[in-house]
Amino acid sequence: MVPLSWYLTLGAILFAIGVAAFLVKRNIITIFMSIELMLNAVNLTFVAFANHWHQVSGQVFVFFVMVVAAAEAAVGLAIIIAVFRTRETLNVDQVNLLKL
């Protein structure tokens, strides 16, 4: 007997914390993890709405989000490894060669 808005609020809070972590943290892996956190928050919202409207497609969508998140995590981490090899650092502030 929980109002649905609570779930949505929780999702919003998680998303906000994910964005904050994205903005504040310096380690690139942590930043990636904050992306995962944001995706999770979205997943929660999807499932909540699937429950509200009694549709299964919400959960199917969650399924796909997870797949994409996994693929993205894999490729992203590979890139991080490649960057680490050249830059010897995981600090995102030091990967700034594209500066004008």
Partner: protein, 165 residues
Amino acid sequence: MLHQVLFIIFGVVCVAGALNLLLQRHPINSALSLIVVMGALALLFLLLGAEFVAAVQVIVYAGAVMVLFVFVIMLLNAGVEEHTRGSRVAIFLGIPGLIAFFIFMCWAIGSNGSALGQARIGSFYVPTQELGIALFREFLLPFEVTSVLILIAIMGAVVLARRER
């Protein structure tokens, strides 16, 4: 009643884990707290009647993706974050943007909250079979596409992480 208690417990766990991710300095701690968040989220999914999603969350997300993160952290021997000069834009534009976003969301949710009604345990329970049927009937094309996507991701990850000769 029980629903509310469970929700509050797991919700608090989620938020605490997320805050921990934000506040920890060492990335391994952040990773571990993220795993905690995912676990709590899986339980919340269960409360909402999504058993398959909850299982997949634990198995795939927490069990594979986060493990991958932990492996990479250990591989790269990522240490404690050192303090470097940040970006002023991120602080002065991003944080207010974030706060504004949060307020919008809360307002949207709050103003329509009563229309959303209640979520009962067991009001909508999706058996895996039903999910499978939906997945392989209406969502067949996206399913196949995602399988191709995974294949590409594998190849990409392998190529990108290859050591240069």
